[in-house]
Structures are given as C-alpha cells and as structure tokens.
C-alpha cells in the first residue's frame, strides 16, 4: 500500500489543532435548530448558552397518559453522535418502560442507536412510549405485568400515579397540570 502519510505536511497537523467548536457541539446545534416537534413537546434550557444539557417536556394529547406532563433530562456527551444522548425521566412515574430511577427503555437510546439518528428521532421515540406503552420490554415489571394482565387496572393505576398516588407501596410523583 502506498505510503501516503509521509506526504502530509506538518503544518496540516498544526492547522487542525486550532481550537474549534467541537464536532459534538456543531452537531447538537444542527440537531436542535432543525427540530420539528409537535405542540405536545417542548424543550427548556436552564442555561440557554449550554446546548448540551436541557429538558424535554412531553404532554400527550391522547392515550393513557393524556393529561400528564412528563419531563426528561437530556445530557449530550463529547462523543455525540457516535454515542447516543443520555436521557432520563425526571419525575418518578408509573410506566412499564421507565424505571423508578427514571431510566428509559427505548431501543434507539441504546442498542439501536446510530449516528444517522438525531435528537428529533429520540424525542419522537419518547413520545411514542406514552402512546403505546410496551409490556414486552419492561423496566417497571409491576406496571408491565399489570398492563399485560388487566388493562383496566393498569389504566386506573396510571391515572392514580399521575395524581401523585401510591401503587403497591410505591409513591409516584404528581404530573398532572391541575
């Protein structure tokens, strides 16, 4: 194989090293400024100068979680988009795919993440969880079990939890607006 490296001028290396906006930063700027969100999703930046940490509020207008407001924290690391953003559900909610620590079971946040995906795809994926909670990959096993076994009871539990009630000795945060 031809030795190309030796043709590289040393000045190139120096030129590349000049402090530049990081690739992750640029990509996040691109992702955020091209977000195309429905009115049920809203981003909030605690510090508008920090694009790498923000919150997303989802207010489903249909489905079992209608009437609630669910906030997620987004944390974007320096390897983005090679690595997915870190996303957590802030309130403690009763949902088969969200655990009590706020971890979210969404394939594109882990195993199916690809650099070609973006923040918009993640947000749309999160909203989908509230429209179609999925009993097959549970993070809250109790909730998943209930969803599978008795849909009416599950729906009752969801409504109860959203008002800040207890389910099986577990207290859930109030997420309803009123």
């Amino acid at each position: 194989m031809l030795k190309i490296w030796s043709m590289k001028k040393n000045e190139d290396a120096a030129a590349k090293k000049k402090p530049k906006t990081s690739a992750a930063q640029i990509r996040v700027q691109k992702d955020l400024t091209e977000l195309d969100l429905p009115s049920t999703m809203q981003t909030t930046f605690a510090d508008p100068a920090d694009l790498l940490n923000f919150e997303l509020k989802i207010t489903p207008d249909e489905g079992m979680y209608k009437g609630g407001a669910f906030s997620f924290s987004f944390n974007i690391g320096p390897n983005y988009p090679h690595e997915p953003p870190k996303v957590k559900c802030i309130p403690k909610i009763y949902h088969p795919n969200v655990d009590l620590e706020g971890n979210v079971c969404l394939n594109i946040l882990r195993e199916d993440w690809k650099p070609v995906l973006n923040l918009n795809s993640v947000m749309v994926g999160l909203q989908y969880l509230f429209l179609e909670p999925n009993a097959d990959d549970p993070l809250n096993k109790e909730a998943a079990e209930e969803l599978r076994r008795n849909r009416d009871q599950f729906l009752y539990n969801v409504k109860n939890s959203m008002r800040g009630g207890n389910i099986k000795n577990e207290h859930y945060d109030r997420v309803t607006n009123q």
Binding site: M1, L2, K3, I4, W5, M7, K8, E11, D12, A13, A15, K16, K17, P19, K20, T21, A23, Q25, I26, Q29, K30, L32, T33, E34, L35, L37, Q42, T43, T44, F45, P48, A49, L51, H82, K114, P115, V116
Partner: protein, 426 residues
C-alpha cells in the same frame, strides 16, 4: 476461505498481473515490495470498499475481483429495476426487485473463485467511522452528489493526525452520458470532493416565465406540469417522484399542454427523467470510468505504478477528448480546508445583515442559518426558547460579539455540514 484460498489460485491465474508485481519499474514508488510482499498484501490483507452497485459499481466490482482484490465490501441502498438490466451486467431478469449489493456480491463470488464480497443493503449513512476505518481504500461509483459529499466529509473528518491508518484514499468515479471523470482523493492531503463542488454541472432549470408562457421544448411542458400545475391543483401536497400515479398525472398534463403548443416529444420516460433529474447512463462510458478507477485502486494498493494526480476527465460527446490535471485543494473548503471561509464585513454590520448576506451568497446557498462562536450562541433559528434568547443579538453589531479574525460556526438544514466563517472587519 476469505482471501487466502490458495487452492483456487490455479497455475497462471495471475500470470499477467504478476509481471507488474514481480519487479519494480522505473517509476514505481520506493516503498514497492516487489514479489511476494505486494502479492500477499493485495490478495490476503487489502480490504476495499465499493460504494454503489449500479452502472459503475458492477464494472468496478468485476474489475477489482479480476485484478486480484479478494476482500471486497459493497454498499448499495437500491433494488434492481428492469431498466438496469441493459448495462448492470451482474443482474438478470430473475433478480428484479432484489437488493443490488447482495445480488452483485453473489454473482462475483460465483464467477471469480476465492473472492469474498460482503454486501450491505442500506445507506452509507447507516455506518459510522469504526466501519469505514476497517478499509484500506474506498472506491465510489455513485450518481448522488449528496452521498458523495457525505462519504467525502466522513473520510476527511476521520483523518487523525496521530494515526496514519486513519487516512483512507478515496477513488471517485462519475458519468453523465458520454462524459465522465475519475479522481483520486487523499483526504486532507489533496483536493477533496467538496473542493470541486463548483465544477459540477447544475441540473438544468428553465426560467419560470418560459415554462409559464412560451414553452418550446417538451421539458418546458413537463416543468410546467410539475412546478406550476401540481401546486395549483394540489396545494401543499408533496409531489412524490417515485409514485407512478404522480408521474402519470404530470405526464398527462404535460402532454395536453404540448399539444396546445404543438410541441412534440413528451413521453412518460422523459417526464420521469425531468422530474427526477435522471441523467442518461451509457454502458461504455461507465466501463471506461470504472476501469480507470480500478487501475488507480490497483496502483495505490500495490504502489506498482504512479497513481493519478488527481483528476481525469473524459469528454466523449465530440470525438474522444480526455484531460488529466491536478485539481487544487481549496483552502476555504468547508470540509477539508484547514482554514475557515474568510468573510470581510463592515464593522457596523449587524448580525441580521450578516445573515442576509449568507442567505444571498450564491456559492454557499444557505437557508435559515444558525450562528455560534466556540463559546456562545449568536443566533439560533430554533427551538423557540433559544430563538427568543438569541433574537436580541440580531440587532447587535457582529463586532460586539466576534473579535477581528474570530470564527463563527454556521449550521443550516440545507448544509450537510457546518461552515466555519472567519470574520474580518473592513
């Protein structure tokens, strides 16, 4: 079975190629390892990626396999259409509807013993740097500017000053009717695809007044149907150029208009060609361009002869004319340029004025740019909170936010990558 299947290397298999590889010539690179060294590299170690398994890709795959590359990967996102069969010779009638990459790989492996071709049916954008890092060379036979820009930028960005292995030569072939070009891109070392973007022929667009009032060509009638009639009748409904019903509607309306103006030549396939901007593909042009791409791949992989530096142009429209020249790297190339694009503005220009200038600038073509410096946002188009937070900056002077010689990073949906501006005040 991969590569080192010496059992399939029958006597004399490489008789011709070996005459080149067995002894150095007067112009071979000093690093050339004549004999077993170079043969072992070519046949047992070298891993090459072919992007595109269409008109050029079929030729490239066959040429590489027959010149001794044994570990070939191929990516293509398309399936085989009946109209491909006239020139994409790895495909048969029975393959229509199947992925090009898979069928091409199987054909080559059946035809050329000992060659491993690994297909990927999907987009190049599905793969990340780790994937591209495994190859020694990349050969592109694409008809999409967007895909070429993407792979070019990916390979340029992959170059790590600390790691010589991260520099992957890119050999790019392209054809348009009787014209074509083959080029060798050494990312960050020589001119990249983005550097020469302005050399591309722009897709033909007719003035709107001509298509509305004075059509003379069948293309004018088709453009009238797609640009003016479709939105008038269907409002915001998007035209899907892959939908035969949509094409049929355009064809019928274009035909009616052509009759009205006594213009001949509106056909279904021309309609499809105009709205999808299809360029005629000629088998023999593909063969010439693919052959030169593969010769360059062979020369670079083996160092057995001087390689193309760096742009070969073929013009067969009027006799046969070819021209080879060194395309210069653009210092302000947004992808490989070590420096940013220099912009000189007056000291009292506001951010708003700068944005207007960017939008108007012909050679960058940005819509809705968002601007930032390495430490702060200047103006972001979205989301609403950030737009509001940065809106007051529109009134401010750029010079209040960016020092002389400072950098601004620009992103926009219409830009596949960011653009770095270096601001000078005059």
């Amino acid at each position: 079975m991969n590569g080192n299947s010496t059992s399939s290397d029958w006597d004399g298999r490489y008789f011709h190629v070996d005459q080149i590889l067995d002894k150095p010539g007067p112009r071979t690179d000093p690093s050339f390892l004549a004999g077993d060294g170079v043969k072992d590299f070519l046949r047992n170690q070298c891993k090459i990626l072919v992007i595109g398994a269409g008109g050029l890709g079929c030729e490239i795959l066959a040429n590489l396999a027959l010149s001794g590359f044994k570990d070939i990967h191929v990516i293509d996102m398309d399936t085989i259409d009946i109209s491909n069969l006239n020139r994409q010779f790895l495909f048969r009638q029975k393959d229509v509807g199947k992925p090009k990459a898979t069928v091409a790989a199987e054909f080559i492996m059946n035809r050329v013993p000992g060659v491993q071709v690994t297909p990927y049916y999907g987009k190049i954008q599905d793969k990340d740097e780790d994937y591209y890092m495994q190859f020694n060379l990349v050969v592109c036979g694409l008809d999409s500017v967007e895909a070429r820009r993407w792979i070019n930028a990916t390979l340029v960005n992959m170059v790590d000053p600390e790691n010589p292995e991260s520099l992957k030569p890119l050999i790019d072939g392209g054809t348009e009717g009787f014209k074509g070009q083959a080029r060798v891109i050494l990312p960050t070392v020589s001119s990249c695809y983005e550097c020469s973007l302005d050399m591309l022929n722009k897709p033909t667009a007719f003035p709107i007044c001509t298509i509305a009032n004075t059509p003379r060509l069948p293309e004018h009638c088709i453009e009238w149907a797609s640009v003016l009639e479709w939105p008038r009748v269907f409002g915001d409904k998007k035209l899907d150029t892959d939908d035969p019903e949509h094409i049929g509607w355009l064809f019928n309306h274009a035909l009616k208009r052509a009759k009205e103006f006594k213009i001949e030549g509106v056909t279904w396939s021309l309609t499809q060609g105009v709205v999808k901007n299809i360029i005629p593909a000629i088998a023999s042009t593909n063969a010439i361009i693919a052959a030169s791409c593969c010769n360059e791949a062979f020369k670079i992989a083996t160092s057995s002869a001087a390689y193309l530096n760096n742009y070969f142009m073929l013009i067969g429209t009027d006799g046969v004319y070819s021209y080879t020249f060194e395309h210069e790297q653009r210092k302000d190339c947004p992808v490989c340029g070590g420096e940013s694009l220099d912009i000189s503005i007056k000291k009292d220009w506001t951010v708003e004025r700068l944005i207007e200038m960017l939008v108007e600038k012909q050679d960058i073509q940005i819509k809705k740019p968002s601007l930032s410096t390495p430490t702060k946002q200047i103006y972001l188009q979205a989301p609403p909170q950030l737009e509001q937070a940065t809106r007051p900056n529109l009134e401010k002077k750029v010079s209040e936010l960016v020092e002389d010689g400072g950098d601004i990073t620009v992103t926009a949906a219409s830009l596949p990558f960011n653009l770095s501006l270096r601001i000078k005040y005059i």
